[in-house]
């Protein structure tokens, strides 16, 4: 028996984006430890934006040079869809980082608690606030999360998938609990997110273990082969794949695993909600698509009934419950649930058009989500952010530009033609119809109509309703948020009017294994 092992050949170029971001995160921890307080923010900003840009450059070069393949001993599969998803995550992270870096909105500094460990309402906390402490620990946490997200959709085996899930989620649990305002709400959200998240991770891990029991391997490719050799449908396989789906569907916020979404979206600092709502959804759907199309593609017909029920339920719960919301962040959370339902249609489609349509949808959705929450973070009353829907009344008169941009994002979420949301919806619906899910497409269209009602209601409030009660004001943010919002708005329009270049990019890309 030969005990010598060949050293694994690792293609670092293909992993550059992941390595750069995770490396920068580690660097960020060191900066927190060693750099003087007054310089930390600037150093962290340079490290964060620098690493994200370098990573994005890596993704772009890998894409243009068609540098694709399996990396890190087959545990990563950097292919066309994978690169595209990494690009979307990095762009979302860049825009999200701009919102997180904002310090002109809150009079007390930024959106995060001066000291996360201080109890809400304690003397410590008021002292730290009084001293004007601002913390920069969010940056390494943020980068770790981005790093995890970059791995999640390209993971090529269930263990890597699980590790990536944890790396991306744990920092988010923490960040969600660090809001400066309404800290109890924030901490409650974080706890809920953590407990339910841990629960779903357990499902994913248990499912992976069962699949290992079935196939003798956790690699997607081996599982595909094993499924092909097992026409009888082993019990381990069915239960294992269902558990894996539960874990992934939790992350995308699909019903009935959606309960965490409204609380976390509402409780987390809005800048973080923007990033999380966009990038987590992209990463999680990327992973879900890969698992459904590659690893468990052979189970398409066995899993279809389950996915049909989940898609229908998710669309209906997202829209119907969304109508009843009076808090803008909760409303947008339900909207995100509805969008998860629409995206599952792309998973059900199980054809190349379904994949490329879903990828386009994710890109469009990332920008609109960033945009909507970016705007929500600007509207304030005396006690902080004004999240009650009624407070948006009359905004169109006082701040036509902000209200106009918000209307644009809402229309894109509603899927009105000439916005990015429409192109995405069309692509996904057409693919699902082709994949034999015509009834679900009709249901999706009805759900879109219900959802349009609550988006339009906000526009009506902004433009047609006279403000009542206390005045809210729109804060003029610093360059960070301004640039972030401009990017989101421009992308929303361009992807609606001229989607062809992106569609070309997505044409003929498929997963490799």
């Amino acid at each position: 028996m030969n005990l010598l092992m060949d050293a694994p050949v690792i293609d670092y170029g293909i992993m550059q984006p992941i390595l750069v971001v995770l490396g920068a995160a580690v660097l960020g921890v060191l900066i927190e430890a060693f750099a003087p307080r007054e310089n930390r923010r600037n150093i962290q900003l340079v490290v964060t934006f620098g690493s994200l840009l370098i990573a994005l450059y890596g993704v772009v070069t890998n894409t243009s040079e068609k540098h694709v393949g399996l990396g890190a001993v087959n545990s990563l599969s950097i292919d066309g869809p994978g690169l595209f998803l990494q690009g979307v995550i990095l762009v979302s992270a860049l825009v999200g980082a701009m919102f997180l870096a904002e310090r002109d909105i809150d009079v007390q500094g930024d959106a995060f608690a001066p000291q996360a460990s201080a109890l809400p309402g304690s003397e410590d906390e008021s002292e730290f606030t009084l001293r004007g402490w601002l913390q920069t620990e969010i940056w390494p946490l943020f980068l770790f999360s981005v790093g995890g997200m970059l791995i999640f959709p390209v993971a090529n085996d269930f263990l890597t998938l699980f590790v990536a899930l944890e790396v991306m989620s744990l920092p988010l649990y923490l960040l969600a609990g660090m809001a400066r305002r309404r800290r109890l709400l924030s901490q409650e959200a974080a706890l809920k997110y953590f407990v339910l998240g841990a629960f779903s991770s357990a499902f994913l891990l248990y499912g992976s273990a069962l699949l290992y029991g079935f196939a003798g391997s956790v690699t997607y490719g081996d599982i595909v082969t094993a499924i092909g050799q097992d026409p009888g449908r082993n019990g381990l396989l069915i239960v294992g794949s269902l558990f894996v789906f539960v874990g992934l569907l939790f992350k995308v916020g699909a019903a009935p695993f959606h309960q965490w979404t409204p609380d976390v979206y509402q409780g987390a600092p809005t800048a973080l909600t923007a990033f999380m709502g966009a990038a987590t959804k992209v990463a999680a759907f990327g992973a879900l698509l890969r698992v459904a199309y590659v690893a468990l593609g052979g189970l398409r017909w066995d899993l279809a009934p389950v996915l049909w029920v989940i898609a229908g339920l998710t669309m209906l719960i997202g829209t119907v419950v969304g109508v009843a919301q009076s808090d803008i962040k909760r409303m947008l959370a339900y909207s995100s649930i509805a969008h998860a339902g629409f995206l599952i249609l792309g998973v059900i489609a199980a054809n190349p058009a379904g994949l490329s349509g879903s990828l386009f949808y994710l890109l469009a959705y990332a920008f609109t989500t960033l945009g909507t929450f970016g705007i929500v973070s600007l509207v304030h009353d005396a006690s902080g952010e004004a999240n009650n829907l009624g407070q948006f009344a009359g905004l169109g008169k006082r701040s036509p530009l902000v209200a106009g941009a918000f209307a644009l994002f809402l229309l894109a979420l509603a899927g009105i033609p000439l916005t990015s949301g429409f192109t995405g919806k069309f692509a996904v619906f057409a693919a699902a119809y082709e994949g034999g899910a015509a009834p679900l497409v009709v249901l999706a269209v009805i759900a879109s109509a219900i959802a349009a009602f609550f988006y339009v209601r906000v526009i009506v409030l902004m433009f047609f309703t006279e403000p009542q009660g206390e005045e809210v004001s729109v804060i003029v943010p610093s360059m960070f948020t301004q640039v972030g919002l401009s990017i989101a708005a421009t992308a929303t329009v361009i992807l609606g009017v001229m989607p062809q270049p992106v569609l070309d990019l997505l044409n003929n890309t498929f997963f490799i294994r």
Binding site: P417, F429, E434, A438, A452, V456, V460, F464
Partner: protein
């Protein structure tokens, strides 16, 4: 010459100029708006003169640019006779409305600038909708036009304008989304049959779609159009929207925008889904008949001038749908002509009613009375408009109503006979309204407030009245343009006229 892209672009350019001139006075803004509208009207008329009714190709003035090749979508424009007359209708009505409602935008939540910009954008999109020969492009503008119209109703309307605007938007949006579902289905069918998905209208009409699938796809399109037109029972948004909008906007809404619905039935439902159209004909005919009578009855009971006119339109749209689904040449030619004539007669009614309402400061019939004594010319114009709406012989609407009834009778005698009651009821609602508002002794307030028609108002309404009377006596030039297009629709649905129906239109 690229007439159609010029027509689409001109109003947008006008809107950009108006939007960009930050320091312009309201008067200048309105002048630029009117100038743009007049210029486009000239372009539209010269295009109409170049149109060759006997051309062998279905579409003329065709322009095609790639837009989203991945979805088989192109920005392609072109007109047949039906689209052409509707574009000319829009091109004439928009400047008329702007001039007639010169002071309409004042005293509302929105500014004059917004009013002009929104009107011009609506105008441009109307042309897009009628000229689109790509079903996707049609759908995009079908939906997009809701946005400027929504703001026009909501920001420049009466007390319940917000409610009316939202109702309008949601009804149309629901219809549009159903159409989207069918659009997706149609695309997938085209992809299965042709290898690559396309939205090109002419290509799509050549598909052989399975009957069952046709029924579903038809329903999506038809419900969208039935809401837009509107047909009973999808009409409830119209009285609210038209009642709350300014008379000018109500004219554009009912006179032109709603024609998109009936135009869509003729252009898309019938040629794309011939089997389904035949299958659903009984349902549509019943709905049309109910609409004709129900709309007329409700019109009689209205106390509000604008709502009354809106209900008369519900009745008239019943006639149009009846003509389309009669599957005879006369019926469909009559329906198309009806769309044009209804546009002009409704415009006359709304605009003159608008003159009256702006003077008296009320839209309720009970506040008027005896106008004929204090303002005879104004009253006379209103009377003429009313006569046109009740389809008196000699007025343009008579020809179209007659054609529709005759065309229906040759195939469906009983529905045609039932529909004639609509004519009697029309006389009732119009004459009652005229009697209540125009005749009798003027009340003190009417005598004090209602003055004679002004020069500007005369200029605005004169072309409309002239067209109503001229086409009333000379419908043939219009029919010459419409008939070849209608014949093509008939061929597409493989319908032939019942024997011995070679009547007026040939």
């Amino acid at each position: 010459m690229n007439y159609l892209s010029i027509l689409v672009a001109l109003p947008v350019v006008g809107a950009l100029i108006v939007g960009g001139l930050r320091s312009a006075t309201d008067k200048l803004i309105k002048q630029i708006g009117l100038g743009t509208a007049l210029a486009s009207a000239l372009v539209a008329l010269s295009m109409a003169l170049q149109f060759d009714p006997n051309s062998s190709s279905t579409l003329q003035f065709v322009e095609k640019y790639d837009w989203i090749p991945a979805f088989g979508v192109s920005f392609s424009l072109g007109v047949d006779g039906i689209a052409l007359v509707l574009i000319v209708l829009a091109a004439i009505l928009v400047p008329v409305v702007m001039l007639a409602g010169w002071n309409e935008a004042e005293g509302h939540r929105g500014s004059v600038r917004q009013y002009v910009v929104l009107t011009l954008l609506t105008y441009s999109m109307m042309i897009d909708v009628f000229a689109a020969t790509d079903v996707f492009l049609f759908y995009v503008f079908f939906e997009a036009i809701l946005i400027p119209m929504y703001f026009l109703i909501g920001r420049f309307g009466g007390q319940r304008a917000t409610y009316a605007a939202v109702k309008f938007l949601l009804y149309s949006l629901v219809g549009g989304l159903l159409m989207l579902a069918s659009l997706v289905g149609l695309w997938v069918v085209s992809r299965e049959q042709l290898g690559a998905g396309t939205f090109d209208w002419e290509t799509l009409t050549t598909l052989n779609i399975d009957g069952g699938v046709q029924n579903w796809l038809f329903l999506g399109f038809f419900i969208a159009f039935a809401i837009k037109a509107p047909l009973f029972p999808f009409h409830t948004w119209l009285p609210d929207a038209a009642g709350e909008a300014t008379p000018g906007n109500a004219t554009l809404l009912v006179g032109v925008l709603d024609k998109i619905g009936t135009f869509g039935m003729l252009r898309y439902c019938l040629p794309l889904f011939p089997l389904a159209s035949a299958y659903f004909t009984p349902v549509v005919i019943v709905l049309s008949l109910v609409g004709i009578i129900y709309g007329a009855l409700l019109a009689i009971g209205q106390s509000d001038l604008k709502r009354l006119i809106a209900y008369t339109s519900v009745s008239h749209f019943g006639f149009i749908a009846l003509g389309i689904f009669a599957f005879t040449t006369q019926g469909q030619s009559g329906a198309t002509l009806y769309m044009v004539n209804h546009g002009f007669s409704t415009a006359a009614l709304f605009l003159v009613a608008g003159y009256l309402m702006s003077r008296r400061g009320s839209r309720f019939i009970e506040d008027f009375g005896g106008v004929a004594k204090v303002a005879p010319v104004l009253a006379g114009t209103f009377f003429l408009a009313g006569l046109s709406s009740l389809a008196l012989p000699g007025m343009s609407s008579f020809i179209s109503e007659f054609l529709v009834l005759q065309g229906t009778f040759t195939r469906y005698p009983v529905p045609a006979i039932i529909a004639t009651t609509g004519i009697v009821l029309a006389a009732l609602y119009i004459l009652l309204m005229i009697q209540r508002t125009m005749t009798g002794e003027p009340t003190a307030e009417v005598a004090e407030k209602v003055g004679e028609i002004t020069f500007r108002e005369k200029i605005a309404i004169a072309p409309v009245i002239a067209i109503i009377i001229v086409t009333g006596f000379l419908p043939q030039p219009l029919l010459n343009i419409i008939n070849p297009a209608v014949d093509r629709v008939m061929t597409a649905v493989t319908a032939t006229d019942p024997v011995a129906s070679e009547g007026v239109s040939k």
